[in-house]
Structure formats: structure tokens, C-alpha cells
């Protein structure tokens, strides 16, 4: 039948591996971290239905619990070379995996908020990221660094997305709805809290996203302010002060907050750019892998026998990642059968 190497053990990689094994192929999954699950394993609840991310992990683990699937963790792939239709997948530890086809499912990494220094991440204690807040949700308590319950919280959208200053023109697509979901959840944990979302545009482009946004306003009383925060400072009382233009009022706005949550965007991981360069794989202007065709070939790399699945080509939610991985499997099967 043939052997397939899947690079990346996140949602897309595990989904592709599971589906390939079900069709009778032998699959090796490589994961650079010491655990599979990718970004989703660091999340608490998922939008828009607030399902526990553990359910996704359980589903993927069950799907890939198959005698024809081998999972190698702690293995970062550096190069894919080919010789007469056989692929050699090289790892940073020097080992080489042989394959008849390769699925690249290397995903994304979160934007490093320290690059937006004006927001003070790593400088001010109570400026945290969306990922930090998910960890707090998982631990059960949302508290300030001094242990106190916050009275006011602000969410800043588009941190590392739609921002030429950090070199990212694109919209990360997942953060707006995550902000709405997190605002609701923090409001549920701390009912006395006043919550504000500072946005450039509310991009609720998915099934039931707009409904969630409406619920946030109607049921939870969350205030949405259109305007990108320009900077955060700390006043003499130790409270965070945000400056924004309230673009709908047409006036500058200044407000004190106890906690600020930065909605970090998604980026192509640095290691994948090297993998792309060494393996003759093209990247787009957004630095993610560039598929052969946007409409008909979003799983095709342009190199025969190498396929893309999931967020390595563009930001995708979990539903889309799973669909994209299944589509990649159909391309792999088609390729191996007609080879």
C-alpha cells in the first residue's frame, strides 16, 4: 500500500494519520514537542460552543490508536528530500525516515507579544495573553498577580495580526471570536467584572460566531469599543491605563483597567521557514506554506508527493483543520494509487 510520513502531531496531523491508517496505509507521525495535540492542548474551552478542548484530544488519541500508526515525539523535521519518488524525511537528531508520500501538518505558533512592546507584556504584571488566560481558566481561578479579583478587564484584538509594524498584513481569523468567548467566560467566573473589548473590526465570520457576539452584549453586558489601543502604562495606583481612539465617538479615550488580555495572532513557526527553504517548498507573503492553487489545490505543495494539511497554509479553526486534513488524505490516496 505505501508508507506516509506526517509532519506534525496537532489536530490536522493526527486527523490525517488516523484517516490514512483506516484506509490501510502505514503512517509515521513526527511531533517536535514531547506531546502530541499541538496548540489545542494548551486551550481550555473552544469557540463557539465552548466544548472542552480535552474532548478534541481524546478524539484524536482514539483515532490514532492504531497498529499502523507510529508516533515519534521530540522530533523536529528539518528537510524533505526525494529520490526516484521515494522521500527521505530528515530530523534534527540526524535520523532519516523513508516515505512514499509526505503530509506537512506543521501548524502555527502564537505571536510573541513581547514584540508589541507598547502593550507591556512581560513588563506589567497584569498584562497577559489569550493563552495565559486559557491556562488560568483551566486552573479554575482568574486572579491578578497580587491575588486580588479584577474589577475591570480589557481585551485587545489584533495583537500581531493586521499589523504592518510586526510584518503581518493578514488577519489571524481565530482571535476575534476567541476574545468574545473569553470575555463571556471571564464574566461568568467573575460576575461583578466589567469587561471591554477593543477591536478594529469584529470579524465574526463563522457559524454561530455572530450569535456568540450578540450573547456577549445581551446576556453578559460586555462593552465593545472600536479602536486599537495605542499603548498601555501604569498609573500611581498600579492600575493599567489604556489609550485608544474611540473611533465611533471620534474622540480619544483613556481608561483604567486591572487586567489586559492580548489576543495574540498566529504565525508560521520559524523552523518551518527553514524546512521550506531546504525542501524547495514555496511560502506566501504571509510566510505560511503556499499551496499550488487556492481553490483546487490547497493541499498540493507543488512538489509531487508532498501535501499540506491544516494551519501550515493559513489560519484555520479546528473544524476547518479537520476538513483540510481529510482533503489532504484524499489527495495522498489518489497520488499513491496512480503513482
Amino acid at each position: 500500500m505505501g508508507k506516509v510520513v506526517v509532519i506534525g502531531g496537532g489536530v490536522s496531523g493526527l486527523e490525517a494519520a488516523g484517516q490514512l491508517a483506516r484506509m490501510g496505509y502505514r503512517v509515521t507521525v513526527t511531533e517536535k514537542e514531547d506531546k502530541t495535540g499541538g496548540n489545542v492542548k494548551n486551550w481550555y474551552h473552544l469557540f463557539p460552543d465552548r466544548r472542552d478542548s480535552k474532548e478534541i484530544i481524546e478524539y484524536l488519541n482514539k483515532l490514532t490508536d492504531h497498529p499502523d500508526i507510529q508516533i515519534l515525539t521530540g522530533k523536529e523535521i528539518t528537510e524533505i528530500s526525494s529520490d526516484n519518488g521515494k522521500f527521505n524525511v530528515k530530523s534534527s537528531d540526524g535520523t532519516i525516515l523513508e516515505a512514499d508520500a509526505v503530509v506537512v501538518a506543521t501548524g502555527f505558533e502564537l505571536f510573541d507579544s513581547r514584540r508589541k512592546e507598547e502593550y507591556g507584556y512581560g513588563i506589567y504584571d497584569n498584562v497577559i495573553t489569550s493563552a495565559d488566560l486559557e491556562r488560568m481558566f483551566r486552573s479554575g481561578e482568574v486572579r491578578l498577580v497580587n491575588g486580588k479579583v479584577p474589577e475591570r478587564a480589557g481585551f485587545i484584538h489584533c495583537v500581531g495580526s493586521r499589523d504592518e509594524k510586526v510584518g503581518n498584513y493578514y488577519c489571524s481569523k481565530l482571535c476575534c471570536v476567541t476574545a468574545v468567548k473569553q470575555a463571556i467566560e471571564i464574566q461568568e467566573k467573575i460576575p461583578s467584572l466589567k469587561t471591554f473589548c477593543f477591536y478594529m473590526d469584529m470579524r465574526m465570520g463563522g457559524a454561530y460566531y455572530e450569535e456568540l457576539y450578540r450573547e456577549a452584549q445581551e446576556k453578559y453586558g460586555i462593552t465593545f469599543i472600536r479602536g486599537k489601543v495605542s499603548e498601555i502604562s501604569v498609573n500611581i495606583n498600579g492600575r493599567l491605563v489604556v489609550k485608544a481612539e474611540d473611533t465611533l465617538a471620534g474622540r480619544p479615550l483613556r481608561m483604567e483597567l486591572d487586567m489586559v488580555v492580548l489576543m495574540v495572532g498566529t504565525e508560521m513557526p520559524e523552523g518551518n521557514l527553514k524546512l521550506a527553504a531546504l525542501s524547495s517548498l514555496k511560502c506566501g507573503e504571509n510566510r505560511f506554506f503556499k499551496p499550488a492553487d487556492n481553490h483546487f489545490g490547497s493541499n498540493l505543495s507543488g512538489r509531487k508527493g508532498i501535501f499540506y494539511a491544516g494551519c501550515c497554509v493559513a489560519p484555520m479553526n479546528i473544524t476547518e483543520s479537520i476538513s483540510h486534513a481529510r482533503a489532504a488524505v484524499s489527495e495522498v490516496v489518489n497520488y499513491l494509487k496512480t503513482k
Binding site: 445581551e218 465611533l248 465617538a249 474622540r251 480619544p252 479615550l253 483613556r254
Partner: protein, 117 residues
């Protein structure tokens, strides 16, 4: 001596100071007309408004100013509404806009002795 005597003028700060502002008018509307929360500032109400064609009156603008506690402009301009209710027909979020204006006037009247028209 007034500053103008020196040939200077003083500008009022334009910044919306959220800490200094009083949002009791907005709170009153939230309580009596909860759909006030649902406004997404699209401006359909202002686009269809007859009063707005002839006078300085935009419910969209008043909504946002009231929510920030910037009450001076709404206090003056809210008188311009003629209560025709066309704005309710176009609101995509189902805000009872006419009721919002009614309760805004009520809140001004109760808290600041605003004259009923």
C-alpha cells in the same frame, strides 16, 4: 485675569476620561430598555432618521456617547427626535431605538431635572 487677555485661548481636553465620567444615564437606559446593549453602531437608525436630515441628530452617535458617559451632547440633541419610530424598522439588531430615546429623556429628567418636551 482671563487667559484671553494675553492673546491665548484655552482648549478643553477632548479625551473621553472614562474614570471621571458619569454613566448613570446609560445605566438607566440599560435597566429600562435592555436592547440598548445590542447596538453595533452600524448607523442605519441615523441614515433613515428624518430629524437627522434637517438637524444635528444621530442616534448612533448619541448611543456611543451615552455609553461612555459623555452626556453633554446627547442632553442637547436628544430634543431633536420627533418620535416617528422609523429607526426601529431599520435596526438590524432589534434595538427598540424609540424606547432608548424615551428612556434617555426620562433619565435626564429624573437625574438632572431635564424638562419634558
Amino acid at each position: 485675569m482671563p487667559a484671553s487677555k494675553f492673546g491665548y485661548t484655552l482648549s478643553e481636553p477632548r479625551v473621553i476620561d472614562y474614570e471621571a465620567n458619569n454613566r448613570q444615564i446609560a445605566e438607566y437606559i440599560f435597566e429600562h430598555e435592555p436592547t440598548f446593549r445590542l447596538c453595533i453602531e452600524c448607523g442605519a437608525c441615523a441614515a433613515t432618521c428624518t430629524a437627522g436630515q434637517f438637524m444635528t441628530f444621530s442616534l448612533r452617535e448619541l448611543n456611543v456617547l451615552l455609553k461612555r458617559g459623555e452626556n453633554d451632547i446627547p442632553r442637547q440633541r436628544i430634543k431633536n427626535c420627533m418620535f416617528c419610530g422609523k429607526c426601529i424598522l431599520v435596526c438590524p439588531r432589534g434595538v427598540n431605538t424609540r424606547s432608548v430615546i424615551f428612556h434617555a429623556r426620562e433619565a435626564f429628567r429624573k437625574t438632572e431635572g431635564y424638562e419634558r418636551l
